[in-house]
């Protein structure tokens, strides 16, 4: 149930983890954190220099000499690459499929909808949704087709998506990005139900992480195109370092949570505002009561946000796209 039990539901010592987007930002922090917990780590990204640098760093924080680290360079927006990554990872892992697959690959390119080129909208969907959906497809097909006798793990396997709190509370300026993150949440929820279908489904768990602002190199690039009004509305969200996000994510996973927020009370509140049929933590009592409170609060928040945007529009003229 994850309520009062202190059992670690996400042991990684001696297990093999594949991390997409593992050469920078949150993905890299996750890779390092899991390395310090004894995992073998294989990171996937496009750029080889970053991949090499990261793998070198991983061996320095390993806790056992038997731990292994590797990288694969791939463009995960292509459907066939996901299958290739899985089979290469399996070969590298002594012909055993990885135990854990964590999708961190993704990027945010904010901008006002009408000011943003159509191609950017497509690219965001590819980079954030399809890269994860393709990996999930290859991974699950692989895991669920294994004959029971060769799946040595009694511990469940884990498939982890990285979405964003923006999926719980869409904001002006993120129209190319938010839909891709909402799509991920819906996929994760659907898989959560579907995995009950497989007898080995008890041994495959799906999770989604919902971070808020992460102070990474990618975040700095994001701020270059972000409209000023968006920055204003985000003022109340402090932000976390990638390491903090990694720690909070793993903590949630160890507690057995399916939907993991990392940014404290704000992230949690945003999640419970949109729970629907998603799996709640424990018996769901706290989540449900919290959702009642948040439901009222969000009405006020929304009205306030709309007011801020309207005022901005009036003050800055309606042809706003002004970047600071």
């Amino acid at each position: 149930m994850g309520g009062f039990a202190s059992k670690n539901r996400f042991p990684v010592d001696g297990r093999t983890v594949v991390i997409t987007g593992g050469s920078q930002g949150m993905g890299r922090s996750v890779a390092r954190l899991l390395a310090t917990k004894g995992a073998n780590v294989l990171i996937v990204a496009r750029g080889i220099p970053n991949l090499e640098e990261t793998v070198e760093g991983l061996s320095k924080v390993a806790i056992r000499p038997s731990q292994r680290f590797h990288y694969i360079s791939a463009d995960l927006t292509s459907p066939t690459e996901a299958a290739r990554v899985l089979s290469e990872a399996t070969r590298w892992n002594s012909n055993q499929p990885p135990d854990i697959v964590w999708c961190c690959a993704g990027i945010a390119v904010p901008g006002l909808f009408i000011e943003t080129e159509i191609d950017t909208h497509r690219d965001q969907m590819d980079s954030n949704y399809f890269s994860s959906a393709y990996i999930a497809h290859s991974t699950l097909r692989n895991w669920l087709s294994l004959p029971f006798s060769t799946s040595k793990a009694k511990e469940p396997r884990h498939l982890i998506f990285t979405s964003s709190v923006i999926a719980f509370y869409p904001l002006i300026g993120y129209s190319p990005y938010t839909p891709s993150k909402s799509a991920l949440r819906a996929l994760s929820d659907t898989l959560s139900q579907e995995l009950q279908l497989y007898s080995k489904g008890d041994s495959v768990k799906v999770h989604t992480i919902f971070p808020a602002t992460i102070f990474s190199a990618a975040h700095e690039r994001e701020n270059l195109t972000k409209p000023a009004i968006t920055k204003k509305l985000e003022e109340s969200d402090g932000g976390q370092t990638p390491d903090e996000v990694a720690i909070a994510s793993v903590r949630g996973l160890e507690r057995g949570e399916e939907m993991v927020t990392t940014s404290g009370l704000l992230g949690y509140a945003m999640k419970v505002g949109m729970l629907g049929a998603s799996k709640r933590n424990g018996w769901g009592v706290v989540d449900t009561i919290a959702s009642w409170i948040v439901s009222v609060v969000l009405m006020v928040v929304r009205r306030d946000m709309d007011g801020t945007v309207r005022k901005w529009g009036l003050e800055n003229g309606s042809q706003v796209g002004q970047k600071t």
């Binding site: 009408i114 497809h137 869409p170 799509a183 659907t190 898989l191 279908l197 729970l275 449900t288």
Partner: protein, 330 residues
């Protein structure tokens, strides 16, 4: 803040409405019903024959001889097509962009995720999300950034009455079901886009209203096609949904729009489930009823989810893992 003040917040008489996916199913019903309320209708779809037939049917519902009816054949999954359609619609409409754009184009391919051919994931996103996103992009650009020579006339127009951009999402945007993994994310993405745009439209002095329709099962040709690939498990999980005809969905949608609703569920079940995931979406009226319902639903959803999971597990015990019923000879 939209109130239920009794005033029709979606007047269409003498307005020009562009409807994608307007040659069959829900789109066709919407087109016909709006024609009967006095609107000029332009429908968009791929198949020319179907468009001709549909256009004929729609024009038969016209209120007055002044109304015009047109059709444009296009593949909306191609990004540039939406711009072309808006330009063509603008020429047809005496140099003004359409007043209302309603995106009904879409399709459903509900299969268990691991059994889904990978190409379908992209097809679904293109068919359901991008056709609407591209159209929204073209329409909003036309409304909010008129070409210089028209600016004074357009500004006059835009100050006169609101324009409406309408997406058609689905109950599955907020309530996922096993077997809809290729489809639900596309509809969740649509809802998300609508919410973002709703926030963004406050920025512009031009009055653009955004709406999203959330139907459940609609009995159409496409529904029959969908059922041919759908797993038996999903059919079982959907049992509680009685379903509606396309005409009924169109009727309820238009009624919701006339009441000024931004999120328009077409059945009571859809409304209840919607209230379970309201988040920051704009509520109807003062939001009292929606909020109260959200409290109830928050509690109810715990049981609904537990029940659904139970059904899937029992299915697995009885029928195995494929999502399909065991055949008698097995």
């Amino acid at each position: 803040m939209p109130f239920y003040s009794g005033k029709n917040q979606f007047p269409v008489e003498s307005k020009t409405v562009l409807i994608t996916g307007g040659s069959k199913g829900m789109g066709l019903s919407v087109a016909r019903q709006l024609a009967a309320k006095g609107a000029n209708i332009i429908i968009v779809a791929r198949d020319l024959e179907k468009l001709k037939e549909a256009n004929q049917y729609i024009s038969e519902g016209a209120l007055s001889p002044e109304q015009f009816f047109h059709y444009i054949s296009a593949d909306l999954t191609i990004p540039t097509e939406s711009q072309r359609i808006i330009s063509e619609a603008t020429s047809i409409n005496h140099g003004l962009p359409p007043d209302i754009v309603w995106c009904c184009a879409g399709s459903s391919y509900p299969t268990i995720f691991v059994d889904t051919p990978i190409v379908e994931l992209r097809n679904m996103m293109d068919s359901n999300y991008f056709t609407a996103a591209y159209m929204a992009h073209a329409a909003l650009n036309a409304w909010l950034k008129p070409p210089p020579k028209q600016s004074s006339f357009s500004t006059f127009q835009s100050n006169a009455s609101p324009r409406h951009l309408i997406f058609t999402a689905s109950l599955l945007s907020f309530f996922t079901l096993a077997g809809y993994a290729p489809y639900s994310p596309t509809k969740a993405a649509l809802r998300s886009l609508a919410d973002t745009l709703s926030n963004e439209m406050n920025l512009y002095s031009s009055n653009v209203r955004l709406h999203t329709i959330f139907p459940a099962t609609i009995f159409t040709e496409s529904y029959e096609a969908e059922n041919r690939v759908k797993s038996d498990l999903t059919k079982k999980l959907e049992e509680g949904d009685a379903g509606q005809t396309a005409d009924e969905v169109a009727r309820r949608s238009i009624k919701g729009l006339e009441r000024g609703e931004e999120m328009v569920p077409t059945t009571f079940m859809c409304r209840l489930l919607m209230c379970g995931v309201l988040g920051g979406s704009l509520r109807n009226g003062w939001g009292l009823l929606d909020t109260l319902l959200s409290w109830v639903m928050s509690l109810v959803m715990v049981f609904v989810r537990w029940d659904m999971d139970g059904k899937v597990k029992r299915w697995r015990k009885e029928h195995g893992e494929s999502g399909m019923k065991k055949r008698r000879d097995e």
